[in-house]
């Protein structure tokens, strides 16, 4: 198909006969007069905005200290009636230490049908964006392959605040590595294709629960390593 490559590129060059030969891409100015973030916020305000925007898009938001995380996750799984839970490699072991649900490891060899049989999945994230209520997963150790947060019907995502929270889309992109596959999640799967009525969960998880977890106050005894 090499000839088509040359043909298309030659057409592009002919089509651009009006562009001065000496013009370099950078010579065509792009003014970036837009904001890096929309407003100045304290850490607590940013976290609150994240929680508010997540909830606005129908994610269920929970807040806890690190020491309360294992119990909270166990409760959430129980309440959802989950008998099995997918766990990416590298998810901190304590997070699911209190769960009764059977743990299923994220393996390269598992088939989509096997994933479909699992009730819930627990992951961390790479970055969360307050202004848009978005979680970004980048396949890091606590997050696993892209498909595990897609096929099961219930996703619990843990966000470490404040370290993993940024205000805006520009600040998030700065932190992310484009060579990794990224999944941006803003609320559960949804469609508005039928008379614009919003319905959750056509294909992705119908329930998205987000746990904002803060470190325990300094000096507190470390009961959960």
């Amino acid at each position: 198909m090499n000839s088509s490559r040359e043909r298309v590129l030659a057409r592009v060059r002919r089509a651009l006969a009006d562009v001065p030969r000496e013009e370099r891409p950078r010579d065509h100015r792009v003014e970036r007069g837009y904001l890096r973030a929309h407003g100045e916020r304290t850490v607590e305000e940013t976290t609150a905005l994240l929680a508010e925007n997540l909830a606005d898009y129908r994610a269920v938001v929970h807040r806890t200290r690190a020491s309360g995380l294992p119990d909270l996750i166990a409760r959430l799984l129980e309440r959802h009636g989950s008998r099995s839970v997918l766990v990416p490699p590298g998810l901190p072991a304590p997070w699911t230490a209190a769960c009764h649900a059977t743990r299923v490891d994220d393996l390269a060899a598992s088939t989509p049908h096997e994933l479909d049989a699992v009730d819930s999945v627990v992951t961390g994230c790479a970055v969360a964006i307050a202004e848009t209520g978005t979680l970004v997963l980048d396949g890091g150790p606590g997050q696993g392959r892209r498909r595990i947060t897609l096929v099961p019907d219930h996703h619990i995502c843990v966000v470490r605040v404040p370290e993993q929270v940024v205000d805006s889309v520009p600040l998030a992109l700065e932190r992310l590595d484009p060579t990794r596959p990224l999944t941006w999640i803003s609320g559960p799967s949804a469609t508005s294709d039928i008379e614009l009525d919003r319905v959750e969960g056509v294909h992705g998880p119908r329930t998205l629960e987000v746990v904002l977890v803060e470190a325990d106050p300094a000096g507190a005894t470390d009961e959960n390593p």
Binding site: M1, S4, R7, V8, L9, A10, R11, V12, R13, R14, A15, L16, D18, V19, E23, R24, P25, H28, R32, G33, Y34, L35, H38, Y57, A108, P112, D116, I129, E131, T132, G133, R145, R146, R147, L150, V169, P170, L173, P178, T179, R180, P181, L182, T183, W184, I185, S186, G187, S189, T191, S192, D193, I194, E195, L196, D197, V199, V202, H203, G204
Partner: protein
């Protein structure tokens, strides 16, 4: 473009039929007004919207002015990341490449995420002819596919269907394509979505080949971006072993950082959300995560011809947000099908005649599918001056002139029967060529109201047949804007 839309009646007749269809008009009116109002609120949340819009325009212009440079960089980056890049000068080539790639996998079915590029080239039909079944997985696209219908809106392709119609389509057709609709299916959106979930899941879980488009391609890194709501995109992009993405060459942006502009402009402009539920980015292939074979098919199919037109080139900035459809009074009444193309509404009226040329009746009529009210320009997140291009294309239809077709310069002959419009078009052209005079020109239009026709020419005729042509307003939009909002800038 494909044969999908050949045999379409030209805009006037199609629009006249659509205008008589009261169900369609009711559905469309409800939809466009709902999205329009929500969008205005989402945009108002960002104080720097105009700066983002200016940056979006400038980034796209930079890319288009140096498209060869960025395409070559993109190719290098995708290849380095483990993908394979193919180039297709036209629809037939693109279809041949995809067919070949699918056959090489030994599969006879593929799952597809909604893609306008593949609709444009008629890929599903081309695959079907080779014995390969393509399943559309976006809910609206599924409705369209099962109903043997055509999409009528960029964002919500089945917007012309109401819930009772959708129920009937699912009930009657799902069984022929796979898992049948559940017994006693009602027309509640939740039940209909559940039926689609079950029907499609069976296909996702066994699919070996996925086909997608992309919203953006980053030249610097070789990253592709797909923006969606349902998760069907993520299914198609991550479960199959082979992924084939067919993307128009104009979708490239220079750098990773540039996404910060478009990922703010697109969701708010299209679905009126701060961010759409899912965005996926991928760069070539990743070990044991997602498809292990990735093919990118770069599609020309009339885009370089469009690029060759210095006025019309700006249509290639389009990020397919569909905001211009929702504010267009002609679209609202005529519906998407009347445009006879996968690109309906104002953007379709300038893009289709450029991609396909103006030889056919429908394409020659499209530049007239507008009242030139300017709402589409005001709303466009990349500031495409659609009215300017419309007038330019009308002039081309009326006066003929030099254009590029399939990479070759040809001289068009003037269309017959448009002589009366010629003078008016020249006047409009003059005004648009002299930006400083535009304001004055619009006032002039106001003052010469009694000289304006009672019926619009071309496709607008069908519209004016069923209503009186609105008076040219006393005050032009720009004047009004200056007076009401512009003052505090």
């Amino acid at each position: 473009m494909s044969g999908t839309y050949l045999g379409m009646p030209a805009f006037p007749r199609a629009a006249r039929d659509a205008v008589r269809d009261t169900t369609l008009r009711g559905n469309l009116r409800h939809a466009t007004h709902t999205i329009r109002d929500k969008r205005a609120r989402a945009v108002a949340e960002l104080a720097d919207w105009q700066e983002l819009r200016a940056a979006g325009k400038a980034i796209k212009d930079r890319t288009l002015r140096h498209l060869d440079h960025y395409l070559v960089r993109l190719e290098e980056a995708v290849t380095a990341a483990g993908g394979t890049v193919h180039w297709a000068a036209d629809a037939a080539e693109a279809n041949a490449i995809v067919t070949y790639l699918v056959k090489a996998t030994g599969e006879s079915e593929v799952v597809k995420v909604k893609s306008m590029a593949t609709q444009e080239i008629g890929l599903n039909e081309a695959l079907e002819a080779e014995g390969i079944r393509a399943y559309e997985t976006d809910l609206a696209e599924l409705i369209v596919q099962l109903g043997e219908d055509r999409p009528s809106h960029i964002l919500v392709p089945a917007i012309h269907r109401n819930r009772a119609e959708i129920r009937d389509i699912f009930d009657q057709e799902m069984g022929r394509w796979g898992r049948p609709a559940p017994e006693g299916l009602s027309d509640s959106p939740a039940e209909l979505a559940e039926a689609a979930r079950l029907h499609l899941r069976e296909k996702f879980l066994r699919a070996k080949v996925g086909i997608s488009g992309a919203n953006f391609m980053v030249a610097e890194t070789g990253t592709l971006v797909v923006v969606e709501s349902e998760g069907n995109g993520r299914m198609c992009l991550t479960l199959p072993e082979t992924l084939i993405s067919v993307v128009g060459i104009e979708k490239v942006v220079p750098t990773w950082q540039d996404l910060e502009v478009f990922l703010q402009l697109l969701p708010r402009s299209s679905t009126a959300e701060r961010m759409n539920p899912y965005t996926s980015t991928w760069t070539g292939t990743t070990d044991s995560d997602g498809p292990q074979n990735f093919h990118l098919v770069l599609l020309d199919n009339g885009r370089t011809d469009t690029l060759a037109d210095e006025v019309g080139r700006q249509a290639l900035r389009c990020i397919r947000c569909s905001a211009c459809l929702n504010v267009c009074p002609v679209y609202e009444r005529a519906g998407g099908h009347a445009y006879g193309s996968v690109y309906p509404g104002p953007i379709g009226a300038i893009l289709s005649p450029q991609l396909r040329g103006t030889a056919s009746e429908i394409d020659a009529s499209l530049p007239y599918a507008s009242s030139l009210c300017g709402a589409c320009y005001e709303v466009c997140p990349v500031a495409i001056d659609i009215p300017e291009v419309l007038v330019h294309l009308r002039e081309r239809v009326v006066q003929g002139g030099e254009v590029t077709r399939n990479g070759v310069k040809v001289t068009l002959r003037p269309a017959k029967g448009h002589a009366a419009e010629r003078a008016a078009m020249r006047a409009a052209r003059w005004a648009l060529d002299h930006p400083g005079a535009l304001r004055a020109g619009q006032r002039l239009a106001s003052r010469t109201r009694r000289l304006h026709p009672k019926r619009l020419p071309g496709p607008g005729r069908a519209w004016t047949d069923t209503r009186t042509l609105p008076e040219v307003p006393e005050e032009s939009f720009r004047d009004w804007w200056q007076r009401t909002r512009g003052g505090d800038r």
